[in-house]
């Protein structure tokens, strides 16, 4: 497997970095560029930008934020939220995004996955999944930032999306997100064991122990962190050192 990636996730509303709990209730944290620069300088392996209201209001206003980021930040950028078409993907790649994360639009029209993968490559097409536990060992996919049920089984959906050409999965636990109580390890394991593409675990990171657990027991290839970084509960260099000490292969910065 590749070195584990430590990814900083920035949820955006309008011009602001925000932080939510259970993908809802929002607190404005400030200028996303300031946070992004800090994470880049502290050795973030990648950044993820998610526009969390774009889908609700039918717009994607991330291009300015992404362009600013790409102006000064030279690690991979994944951008999502309200991406509905190949044209939307193109607009984001032109301003410096490397990968695009798609959820709602892919569920509405799965062929979009293939269209994006064929035109820009599978590695560019990240399937964003919001998963909520509905029974032991079963999760339902949600859209619109954890608001709308789809009746889709997450494990079936990720299998299908991989066949259609998705190159990576951004897997967010609606239940754990913002709680700092750890990832939904069973969810990550259920998904990681049925696909051959990389899986990014998101939602619930509170301590380095959570990270070690979701990698060793869950099989995550990468971990996306938001709350613990934005609230400065723990910094990236400490997380990287803890991962190394736990015997995980991470980039040495």
């Amino acid at each position: 497997m590749s070195n584990l990636r430590l990814i900083a996730r920035l949820d955006i509303k309008g011009p602001n970095l925000i932080k939510g709990v259970h993908l809802e209730g929002l607190r404005v944290m400030g200028d996303p560029q300031q946070f992004a620069r800090e994470y880049y300088e502290q050795g973030a392996d990648e950044l993820i930008y998610m526009d969390i209201v774009a889908s609700l209001y039918g717009r994607n206003s991330l291009t300015d934020i992404v362009r600013r980021a790409a102006h000064d930040i030279f690690v991979p950028l994944t951008v999502g939220g309200g991406v509905r078409s190949v044209e939307d993907v193109n607009a984001l790649l032109r301003v410096g995004a490397d990968k695009v994360a798609i959820n709602t639009a892919a569920i509405a029209r799965p062929e979009l996955i293939t269209e994006v993968a064929r035109r820009y490559g599978s590695q560019c097409m990240v399937l964003s999944v919001e998963a909520k536990r509905v029974a032991p060992g079963r999760w339902e996919a949600y859209t619109d930032n954890g608001r709308e049920k789809t009746a889709l089984d997450v494990v079936d959906w990720v299998r299908k999306a991989e066949r259609l050409g998705a190159g990576e999965i951004l897997l967010t636990s609606v239940d754990q997100e913002g709680t700092r109580k750890g990832f939904d390890v069973a969810l990550v394991h259920a998904v990681a064991s049925v696909v051959s593409i990389p899986v990014i675990a998101s939602g619930g990171m509170g301590s380095p122990e959570h990270l070690v657990e979701v990698v060793n027991a869950g099989g995550a290839d990468a971990v996306a962190m938001a709350d613990c970084l934005h609230y400065r509960r723990i910094r990236l260099p400490e997380i990287r050192a803890a991962a190394l000490e736990a015997g995980l292969r991470v980039r040495k910065t």
Binding site: G43, F74, P76, S196, T253
Partner: protein, 214 residues
């Protein structure tokens, strides 16, 4: 003094990041979406993300393939990134067999789906991996890989990789679960990087800076 670089736009990939990274390293960048400004350039960068076949079609549609060949033959500094590196080889196997530019002998083949121990691993190969000198141990000094920190890690994202027929044209390798991958190649002043220097943080920027000094 800023170094002039022509970056070739052949219809695929994120040009903004490679342009910005070169600028940060002191280059003045000119983008060309046509066959112009290639043959008379001081140095040329061929970036790219996506499929090998689409890359060759893009170059052909814009009449850029022959100017690129002639530029490389002139011995001026050239850097191919990701698909831009793969296109230097004879043949690519993605979505069928397709001819490349034929500058470096060899083929572009799938990254093996299992590690050296036979266990499956993730494809694409995505993430940071460490550059190591190949067994021929070329001198990295004076190349684009000069002055890097020990065990330099750079960012890879690919499902196919070039296999140079001539060992001496390998500049750096990396290992993915024990599978050897050609990470960087060199033929005179023509360089290729399978990884993305414009996405590899400070180490990547150092590589681009080195390229501007060639």
């Amino acid at each position: 003094m800023s170094r002039a670089v022509t970056v070739v736009d052949y219809g695929i990939g994120n040009l903004y990041s490679v342009t910005r990274a070169l600028e940060v390293c002191g280059a003045s960048v000119r983008l060309t979406a046509s066959h112009e400004h290639i043959e008379d350039a001081e140095r040329v960068v061929l970036p790219g993300v996506g499929a090998f076949a689409d890359g060759m079609i893009g170059l052909a549609q814009r009449g850029q393939a022959d100017p690129i060949r002639r530029f490389i033959e002139s011995g001026r500094p050239f850097l191919g990134i990701c698909v831009g590196m793969q296109l230097l080889l004879d043949v690519g196997e993605e979505f069928g067999e397709h001819a490349g530019l034929g500058i470096l002998p060899g083929r572009v083949t799938p990254v093996p789906a299992t590690g050296a121990d036979g266990r499956p691993h993730r494809i694409p190969h995505i993430g940071w991996n460490v550059l190591v000198p190949p067994p021929s141990a070329p001198d990295w000094g004076g190349s684009i890989l000069a002055s890097l920190p020990a065990e330099p890690a750079v960012y890879f994202v690919h499902s196919f990789a070039p296999v140079p027929a001539d060992e001496r044209q390998r500049l750096a390798d990396c290992y993915y679960d024990g599978r050897r991958i050609s990470a960087s190649v060199r033929a005179g002043n023509a360089y290729g990087c399978q990884f993305h220097p414009e996405k590899s943080g400070p180490a990547g920027l150092q590589i681009l800076r080195n390229f501007l000094q060639i």
